[in-house]
Amino acid sequence: MTFFDLARKNAWRKPLRTLLLMVCIAVAFLIYGLAASFVAGAQGAAGASDELLGVMSATGRTQPLPMALMPRIAADPEVAAVGYMTRMRGFIEVEKNVVAVSAVDPGLLMSVNGKELGLTADLVDAIGQARENVLVGRALADAQGWTAGQRIAVTTFDIAKQDGSRDWRFEIAGIFEGENASTDTYFMIGRYDYVNAVRARGKDTVDAFIVRPQASAVPDLAAHIDQLFANSAAPTRTQSEKQFLEAFLRQYADIGMIVNLVTGAAFVTVLMIVVNTMVFAVRERLFEIGVLKTLGFSQTRIVALILGETLFVFAIGGGCGLALAKLATVFAGPNLGLVFSPLVFAKALAILLVLGFATGALPALNAIRTPIINAFRSR
């Protein structure tokens, strides 16, 4: 027998109670794991580049910018490459099955953002074969069950064709994977020349320019670009891709704060339940703690024994919860934008340790403060 065995046996003294505690802790850590993975994924915001800049209309994200701005942006010596994009939102078959198509110049996109999106020369060639070709992101392809060569129809919400129709037919030329798991791949890449030629309104405009700065670019390049068009008919607002996505998400809610509140509430509840249970559990065996003290167990060892017990319960419960969260991110992660990163795991581990110590502290304090004589009277 070791000291740890003693703590473990104490923890399993009432198996049902311990099991319920572990389930309670597992649920709290599952909530935390999923919520933190969601924030880490932030629907692609975490995978979004802090380096790439998006140039949009200063009057609103839905306001288009004239294509004519592009040469002036490209001419800036701090700019390495520029691409452009018109975003089409629509649905497949039913309105709630929403998809997005980014209409771009594939060659320019490759030079600006190809690495992050996982674009290859073959994919760019493939989309270049026909105007209706699209490249589909892995997450979207998996969610829709699409494969290369398949023909699809997207009904757009806002961009109509010249014949009045909103049905856009595409053929899937390939699937791009994204640089890593946190890259947003839940969209399609279409050809701007096709969209621009067929759409009824807004010709020769784009929703955004995408800028890759030179490696040695000044930090305030965004402000510098905005300054170029400050007094023009189309003033711009330039942000990094990450800033843009985060701001976009904040339009709906401060997801980070909601996640903190929800997980905070879950952990406080767990803390209350476990502290309460542990206080009772230790009080029930105050007599035995008196015996241990009589045998020579010091206060430090009694504290270590009780903390070891709570940490054991948290390690099993929290471990199970985090394992389930990890499984969820593996199976549903790409669709839901969940990323169970090492940082999420490290934070969860830190919370687990803090809660384990916090819940054991009060019963441990009670145990060491009770004189042996009083402990013997507790039977």
């Binding site: 027998m1 070791t2 000291f3 065995d5 003693l6 046996k9 104490n10 399993w12 003294r13 007599f287 035995e288 015996v291 241990l292 003290k293 009589t294 045998l295 020579g296 167990f297 010091s298 206060q299 430090t300 060892r301 004189p371 042996i372 004589i373």
Partner: protein, 235 residues
């Protein structure tokens, strides 16, 4: 107040005073108690309820402290020690046998005996050897994996004794060790204590209500109203 002076005292209590606060009133238990017990002695302490037997035992075990006076066991002055030092002293110098055995029900016999050894820098193998040796000594070889719940009172008390001596302490304190046992089991336990005293040289202080149990001791002290009123030596 009676003085019990013997040569080479292993345990020396001098001028011990102790009072408990009951209902806001100080109730004295001892007022200047003296006691000397030489090394290797086997002393039975008898007396009516409330005479101070348990308080005396608790002070000898270092789990209660005198209000005044000096309490020395071996080279250790318990009255001057803090809680941590007394814990360490108990772990190294004293074994205790309780009336109701006080075994941990979640542990097997061997694990209960092993408990005090967890406080010593011993390997797992060394601990196992010591545990097997003392369980053999108390006649429980082969019952290492049994839980206290399936053992008789006599067997549980043997486990209690094994736990008390596994660290090879010089002093064995017994609080009514036969109080919960039938006559036959009680006699077996008392024979075992005699063996530990005579063969292994343990100093034993045993609190008991049972005159027959006291007959096994080398001498019996009668405590009444916080003072020793009579001493009887074994023939």
């Amino acid at each position: 107040m009676t003085q019990h002076i013997a040569q080479e005292p292993y345990i020396a209590l001098k001028g011990i005073s102790k009072a408990y606060n009951i209902g806001g009133q100080a109730v004295p238990i001892f007022s200047g108690l003296d006691l000397c017990i030489p090394h290797g002695d086997f002393v039975a302490v008898m007396g009516p309820s409330g005479s101070g037997k348990s308080t005396l035992l608790n002070m000898l075990a270092g789990i209660d402290r005198p209000d005044a006076g000096s309490l020395r066991i071996g080279a250790s002055h318990l009255d001057q020690m803090g809680e941590a030092a007394r814990s360490s002293w108990r772990a190294h110098h004293m074994g205790i046998v309780f009336q109701f055995y006080n075994l941990l029900p979640i542990l097997t016999a061997a694990e209960n005996v092993e408990l005090p050894l967890l406080l010593k820098p011993l390997s797992r193998r060394e601990r196992r050897i010591r545990v097997e040796r003392v369980l053999d000594l108390v006649g429980l070889g082969g019952r290492e994996r049994q839980y206290p719940g399936v053992m008789s009172g006599g067997q549980q008390q043997r486990v209690g004794i094994a736990r008390a001596i596994v660290c090879d302490p010089g002093l064995l304190l017994c609080d009514e060790p036969t109080g919960d046992l039938d006559r036959k089991s009680a006699d077996e336990i008392l024979e075992m204590l005699c063996f530990l005293n005579r063969q292994l040289g343990k100093t034993i202080v045993m609190v008991t209500h049972d005159p027959q149990a006291a007959l096994h001791a080398k001498r019996t002290l009668h405590l009444d109203k916080g003072d020793f009123v009579e001493e009887r030596r074994a023939a």
